[in-house]
């Protein structure tokens, strides 16, 4: 019998697995987010000011000089958004495969796993904001630009289904370059999968708040990220379908100032509100309270 391509990909992964040090078996340790050694400095990408890392945490990872919002790791995002110790991670044990046999894809995934201690770019779980329960999903742009492959798509759908089972509101923080090229057509299909799952959520009358952070582009913007009942965005976040470089190449013109930034989308009526990071938790809290019934 002719060996199926996908069977072969799966077997290859099995062989590969022996080479990589285990898969994450425990939920993410959030206390790590706050552990910043003394005397460490960081430089703001925007204004170049040197900032003490410890102060950064206190300042919600926003530059005090120029208000630049730093890109957050998933654990940092969770720790500044929800009540301490309230987050319980769900959906462990997903393993990313290499269906198209793209060279070095397994190695890349293994490197990102090590660097971020995530399984893939998306994590979700139960959480509380000021004691209001919710399902929180976070895309981490430090893991392969937060791109959506089969595992991310599946986990996004699972988090939506988890919200439906528990009948809880769903909040997602998006940061993604779009679909994951290495997984080809499977990544594309995740758009239909996740958008369909959101439709089910809406049919059940549950709240979905989508928070777009820098950057939100491509297949993720064109599926679940744009389907929130309420869409918030962080200041100056890049949000769009095609990337600015692609648009520039296609139309052979320079792009207007501030194009595809959160403020631009607000002006064009595509999002509800631009919310500064220091106000995000409070805004989400208010929205959650306003959607409580009976």
């Amino acid at each position: 019998m002719k060996r199926n391509h996908l069977q072969a990909a799966f077997e290859k992964q099995k062989r590969f697995k022996t080479k990589v040090e285990g898969y994450r078996k425990k939920p993410l340790d959030l206390s790590k987010a706050k552990e910043v050694p003394e005397g460490l400095y960081e430089k703001c990408d925007q204004c170049g000011k040197a900032l003490i890392s410890k102060d950064m945490v206190k300042n919600h990872y926003v530059c005090p000089a120029c208000d630049h919002h730093f890109r957050l790791r998933a654990i940092e995002r969770i720790s500044i958004t929800v009540d301490p110790h309230s987050f319980i991670e769900k959906g462990l044990g997903f393993i990313t495969l290499n269906p198209l046999f793209v060279d070095h894809y397994e190695n890349k995934i293994a490197e990102y796993k090590k660097a971020t201690s995530l399984d893939d770019a998306y994590i979700y779980g139960y959480a509380q904001i000021n004691n209001n329960p919710l399902v929180l999903g976070v895309l981490d742009s430090h893991f392969m630009m937060g791109s959506m492959g089969s595992v991310v798509g599946e986990k996004v759908a699972k988090s939506i289904e988890y919200a439906m089972v528990k009948r809880l509101p769903l909040i997602m923080f998006i940061a993604s370059g779009g679909a994951r090229m290495q997984e080809g057509i499977f990544s594309l299909m995740q758009m239909a999968k996740t958008a369909g799952a959101i439709k089910k959520l809406h049919n059940q009358g549950l709240l979905f708040i989508s928070v777009l952070t820098h950057p939100t582009t491509g297949g993720v913007t064109a599926s679940f990220a744009s389907l929130g009942d309420i869409i918030l965005a962080e200041p100056k976040a890049l949000i769009g379908f095609a990337g600015p470089r692609v648009i520039k190449q296609t139309i052979k013109q320079s792009l207007p100032e501030g194009f595809q930034r959160a403020e631009f989308l607000l002006e064009k009526g595509m999002i509800d509100k631009v919310v500064h990071r220091k106000d995000m938790r409070e805004t989400l809290h208010k929205l959650l309270v306003m959607h409580q019934r009976g």
Binding site: Q13, A157, A179, M189, G196
Partner: protein
């Protein structure tokens, strides 16, 4: 030698054939053409199929509509901004059953292509498509879509008017439509721009069409920083009908004549006719609820991954 060069050679042989009077010579050349077709043009690489899918003479949505539906009535506009010429929509009768038809349309010449934006829709196009789909649902008409686009248009206007939101909204609504949705990929199935009218109960691909997350050129420039490696990329990407059938992404392949559909378009139209007839018969028997559930479950299952269940140490492969 790629398929286009082979095609040039075939054209030369055919020209030679026309200039001949002698019967034995005619026989000789036509035998030669036959063997040439069978040996040189029946085995195609992925890149050959990319070239065929983009062939200027390839029959497009408009041609298929003209052949299959005699009394097609075009319906226009998204009721919000303007009428996008890259997407054509309308109503037709097929074996006495009214259908809603939606498809991306490419032009046959430069003038048409500029009017149709080379088959690359703006948000208006997707909103028009959605309007017609919701209308079809209201009147219980099956929806037939024809996909032939390099992708959704990347431009300032498209972004300003919410290209991403328009596509997302189509995916969202299509997952729950209560009528049959049958999609045919005729030429290029480019990324989200194709999927935005292609979430079907059944999806069929022409043998030499392609369906991918990105153009091979774009893929090569992202992964290898070199757009010239498109040919190599097309092999890696698994974008042909045969690959996608094996992956379970599409439901069927519609055979084309040797050398591509443009050699004998009627064969392709007839094959689409037969497939459409059979599929409609099958789906017409399903209830509104079943149609939506089946479609949702189909896409819900898509993906290739593994889950390790640590509690009972079982591997689950999807």
């Amino acid at each position: 030698m790629d398929i286009l060069q082979k095609e040039q050679k075939l054209l030369k042989l055919e020209e030679e054939l026309r200039s001949l009077d002698d019967e034995t010579a005619i026989q000789e050349i036509s035998d030669k053409i036959k063997t040439y077709k069978q040996h040189m043009m029946s085995k195609l690489t992925s890149w050959d199929r990319v070239l065929l899918a983009r062939h200027v003479k390839r029959p497009g949505t408009q041609d298929v509509i003209n052949y299959l539906f005699e009394d097609f009535i075009e319906l226009s506009g998204d009721r919000l901004y303007e009428d996008d010429q890259a997407i054509i929509g309308g109503l037709a009768l097929f074996e006495d059953q009214p259908l809603t038809i939606i498809g991306q349309r490419k032009g046959k010449n430069t003038e048409d292509n500029i009017k149709n934006n080379f088959g690359m829709p703006h948000p208006e196009g997707y909103r028009k498509a959605l309007r017609l789909m919701k209308q079809a649902e209201k009147f219980n008409r099956p929806i037939i879509t024809f996909i032939d686009t390099p992708g959704a248009f990347p431009g300032i206007g498209a972004e300003s008017r919410g290209q991403a939101m328009a596509i997302a909204n189509n995916l969202y609504e299509m997952s729950d439509l209560k009528v049959p949705l049958i999609a045919f990929i005729l030429g290029e199935g480019g990324s989200g721009g194709a999927l935005a009218i292609g979430v079907g109960n059944r999806v069929f691909m022409m043998e030499n069409s392609i369906y991918s997350i990105l153009s091979p050129e774009g893929y090569a420039s992202i992964l290898w920083k070199d757009a010239k490696k498109a040919q190599e990329a097309s092999e890696v990407m698994k974008l042909t009908s045969y690959d996608l059938k094996e992956f379970g992404i599409i439901d069927g392949i519609i055979q084309e004549p040797i050398g591509g559909a443009h050699h004998e378009p009627i064969k392709m139209y007839e094959a689409i006719y037969r497939t459409l007839r059979d599929t409609l018969r099958e789906l017409n028997d399903m209830s509104r609820f079943e149609l939506a559930t089946e479609r949702y479950n189909k896409y819900r299952k898509m993906g290739f991954l593994q889950r390790f269940n640590y509690e009972n140490l079982q591997e689950v492969v999807k």
